[in-house]
């Protein structure tokens, strides 16, 4: 009889423990994953925590709204479309902030990051049905209207000469990640990994791993071990076309209007800001390894630069984060 009571007691205890454990698991470890298409690319959201579902929905809503109402250069409902058409206009505070961040990168990179090359990239048409190699005259004319130094922003207003085409193509994904990160502060979540077209946000406590896409092949060639941060990569392998045996990629040199040709194939930036990591990856790609590393230091960011020969160059801080997993790549000097 005594054994029987003990057995019942242990069974009940186990049952209650299992239920409590399952409830705690459901509350704390509930996970939501979603995939959606916006900004002409794929986004993935992985969130953990009691508020995972709401947070994932919010991430998608923010990205879609940002694109359609503010950042898209081609959507008529977007503010960028309107200000490009009217050579400026009234802008909300957050939009002015985005422009100021990009202007800061433009200035500190000595113009290597120029977000007014919309007309030049339209000529190339990379990623569209109109891919072609523009003539020197066409590039010269398109470049004459470019130049972020022509932009004036302040008092809720932006202005620039006609013909300048503001383009968030090299920073919009990072801006979206910043806004998603801010929105997550109100959500009950423990951890999140969000990728908007390969720009990544790592949110929450603990360690994260981010693979850097192999520029010359399949899968990833290295893994970054990181805490909460933002990671963006610019690569010449991602969007390009080939004509007469020559590859023309989408990262354009603001001086020539032609695809950058400095030996680099990929630059990854790790930063505390999504907008900065996105913009700086382009800026550093254009600048090349040496000047790119200087720019990283100026912004307090870390960088991984990969050249076409498989040599990997890293900033001091990135050296301890990086683990090369593909034998086709090696750290400089090793």
């Amino acid at each position: 009889m005594k054994n029987r009571s003990l057995l019942i007691f242990i069974s009940a205890l186990l049952c209650v423990s299992a239920i409590v454990f399952a409830a705690v698991y459901a509350a704390c470890c509930s996970e939501k994953q979603s995939t959606f298409w916006v900004m002409d690319t794929i986004s993935t959201v992985k969130v953990k925590g009691p508020g995972a579902r709401a947070a994932a929905e919010k991430a998608e809503e923010i990205t879609r709204n940002l694109d359609s109402s503010l950042l898209s250069r081609h959507s008529e409902s977007s503010l960028t479309y309107r200000i490009n058409k009217n050579a400026g206009g009234k802008v909300p505070a957050e939009y002015a902030k985005y422009i100021q961040t990009m202007l800061e990168v433009y200035e500190k990179s000595s113009g290597a990051f120029d977000f007014t090359l919309g007309n030049v990239s339209d000529l190339w048409g990379i990623g569209t049905d109109n891919e072609r190699v523009p003539s020197d005259e066409e590039l010269k004319e398109a470049l004459s209207s470019a130049g972020a130094d022509k932009i004036k922003v302040g008092d809720g207003e932006i202005s620039f000469p006609e013909g300048v085409a503001v383009d968030f193509g090299a920073s919009g994904k990072g801006i979206a990640l910043d806004e998603i990160s801010n929105s997550f502060k109100d959500c009950k979540i423990n951890r999140a990994v969000v990728s908007v077209g390969g720009s990544v946000m790592l949110y929450g406590k603990g360690d994260f791993t981010v693979g850097i896409k192999n520029p010359g092949g399949e899968g990833y060639m290295a893994v970054l071990n990181l805490g909460s941060s933002f990671v963006s990569t610019s690569g010449s392998y991602e969007r390009y076309f080939e004509k007469d045996g020559v590859r023309y990629h989408h990262i354009l040199d603001p001086e020539t209007g032609r695809p950058v040709s400095n030996g680099l194939v990929s630059v990854t930036i790790i930063s505390g800001s999504g907008a900065l990591s996105d913009a700086l990856s382009t800026a550093c790609f254009v600048l090349g390894t040496e000047k790119g590393m200087e720019l990283c230091r100026a912004f307090g960011c870390e960088g991984v630069f990969i050249d076409g020969g498989g040599t990997v160059y890293v900033t001091d801080g990135a050296a301890g984060m990086l683990e090369i997993t593909d034998s086709g790549y090696h750290l400089e000097g090793r």
Binding site: I8, E31, W37
Partner: protein, 123 residues
């Protein structure tokens, strides 16, 4: 004949504990299932393949525009062909490791391998 060791209540409790434990194991297991290739079209999962179990060449042709052909064989999966213009999906090559992903933007089709790879891939 009455069971002297376990009464009805005991059996119910043991069953409840077992169900809870199995449920928990299932929840854990589904979250970390490795080596599975997941194909999504327009954000909806259309196919999940355990690459280790596939012995013969398996061809998947989802209903997309442009058309894509995905092949799984020898523990790998890849876009064999695509009617899209840039062919980035085909050039991505063969996927075999957890975290590997190939995307066809025009067809809104993603092939990725789940498991214990990196949390994300930057590109």
């Amino acid at each position: 004949m009455k069971n002297r060791v376990f009464g009805k209540v005991d059996l119910i409790l043991i069953a409840a504990v077992t169900v809870c434990a199995l449920l928990f194991i299932f929840m854990r297991g589904s979250a970390s299932d490795g080596g599975t290739a997941v194909i999504t079209v327009n954000s909806s999962v259309i196919e999940e393949l355990n690459l280790k179990e596939i012995k013969e060449r398996t061809v998947i042709t989802p209903d997309t525009d442009p058309k894509v052909t995905i092949v799984a064989e020898n523990g790998e999966i890849y876009f064999e062909s695509s009617e899209c213009r840039d062919k980035i999906c085909v050039r991505t090559g063969r996927l075999s490791k957890p975290g590997d992903t190939a995307v066809c933007l025009p067809a809104k089709t993603v092939v990725s391998i789940t498991g214990s790879g990196p949390d994300a891939i930057t590109y």
